[in-house]
Amino acid sequence: MPMTDNSAGKTGAAPEGVRARDRLALLTADNAAVPLPAGVQAITAILLAVLLIALPWLGLGYRFLSIAITTLYTAIGLYGLGLQFGQAGIMSVGHAALMGVGAYASAILSVQLGFGFWTSLPFAMALSAIVGGVIGLPTLRVGGQHYIIITFCFCALFVVVLTNGGTFTGSATGLDVGSVTPLPGINFDKLSNNYYLVLAALFLALSATYLIGNSRYGRTLRAIRENEQLARSVGINVDLHKLGVLMVSGLFAGLAGVLQLYYLRHISPTLFGAFPSLYLALMVMLGGARYLYGPLIGAVIVNFLPEVLNLDPVDSRIAYGVCLLLVILLLPGGVGAGIKNVYCAVRGGLEKQGGGTNGRA
């Protein structure tokens, strides 16, 4: 396929002598649809995998590893949110509640029926998926902001139900579970092993996101995001796919919720209320929902920011607010978009230096 002049489109190929406005255009450019070369993708994936696998051996301490585990299971939930928002264009600000459905399902199965981590996991994920689909029913009638309010209401309702659920849900105190059932030779009480468990799940979530994004299914979702009417007119069952992607998102949320439960070993309703949900929405926007590593980047920033800058909870909320404003103003596609735009600009610059060889990407 012939390569066209990308600088004519919305791609951020920066010419010589960029002015301030051009620099801003570089940040706000939308290069999400520009394909990356397979080599670049592979190198990024390998570097990231090596870094994440080596993390417990870097001697960064117990506290660092705890935050890393929190970051990773949060990121798993975010990959679901990234799929429904980034690919299909359906935002939710009640996503923590969906993680809560998984966590509580697993905890209740453990308390009432004695199910362990592995046996309760499929049930918890399935329940989250079903609940995700049921909350999704209104998307067939309303979209955008209206649906966001519905998810917010679900979140509030979920906390009320849990708080008033008596001993079944543990009321405001919540529920406790034991540790993850050990696999032969692996005891998950050890923090680094728990980290690897969550990391393995993250790799699954990342792989699933990558495969979906590059499949016909992913393109179908993007078609719905971009133009519902046109999507219908080419034969896409828009209603079915909207519910479907919310169920897939629910699967991710359920997995994240169960991992959260077995890392904390104790859950209570406040973990799944409005504030955690808003943080999830913040993270996915901050990182960039349309980019493969966007949700992970968002989770890393929000979880490590208070630690790195030594902020107390109130200060960190202010910092998050500032971050969100900066992203909306400067990087509407998130930090992931910024990184890709810089990459596209550098590549565009190199191609120009190469005498306009129209090199293939």
């Binding site: 396929m1 012939p2 390569m3 066209t4 990308n6 004519a8 489109g9 919305k10 791609t11 939308d30 999400a32 649809a33 520009v34 016909r216 393109r219 179908t220 993007r222 078609a223 995001r225 971009e226 133009n227 009417q229 046109l230 999507a231 219908r232 007119s233 080419v234 034969g235 896409i236 069952n237 828009v238």
Partner: protein, 242 residues
Amino acid sequence: MAALEVRGLRKQFGGVVALNGIDLDIGTDQVVGIVGPNGSGKTTLFNVVTGVHPATGGTVSWQGQDITNIGAHRIARKRLVRTFQQAMSFPGLTVYENVRIAWEQGRMRGSRWASPGMILDFVGLAPLGRAIAGSLPFGSLRRLGLAVALGVSPELLLLDEPGAGLNDSEAQAFAAVIAQLPPQGIGVCLIDHDMDMMSDLCDRLIVLDFGTKIAEGLPAEVLADSKVREVYLGPNRKAAAS
């Protein structure tokens, strides 16, 4: 038996009767033009036939099957495909991806195109494959709309004002592309206001006015029809125009 048979089709929006009992027969071997003044129900006819709006009454059947009100995506899957009056695309995706999405939907039921690239070649968009659809100039966007519709492997293509907003040379080039479709087994039914283009391109013309069909036949016959001239030129100017 014609592939598309419309019988007594009615559409009411509240008290407004947009379609008042339309009968149509359209085959897949011709170019059929639908003309009429603004508000005569042309686009509504397309919207009801392709399931965008439900019909108030009457039936639409396609290849012998009743497809009245079965939903837009099901109708598209039966290879009865339409384009829109406003040039539509998936704006944030590349031109290639736009066509690929439609092509993949059509391929599930067997496609006439071996690859999305063939469709881009056919409509003359191949050099723009990597451009973002939302950044295309209007003429190219119209071609993309056609390419997306063709991607579904239609047997009958309903084109809603494909020439609107194009300059003369663009419109002529577009008409040349459309004229190539019936020999390949893709019937075309199009709405347009450009009478010169319509009479050159169409094998048959249908004239709508106030939601009813007032004339149908060969372009020359229809344009000579006194009722059609009255609708288009007004009763007082009949003498001046002839």
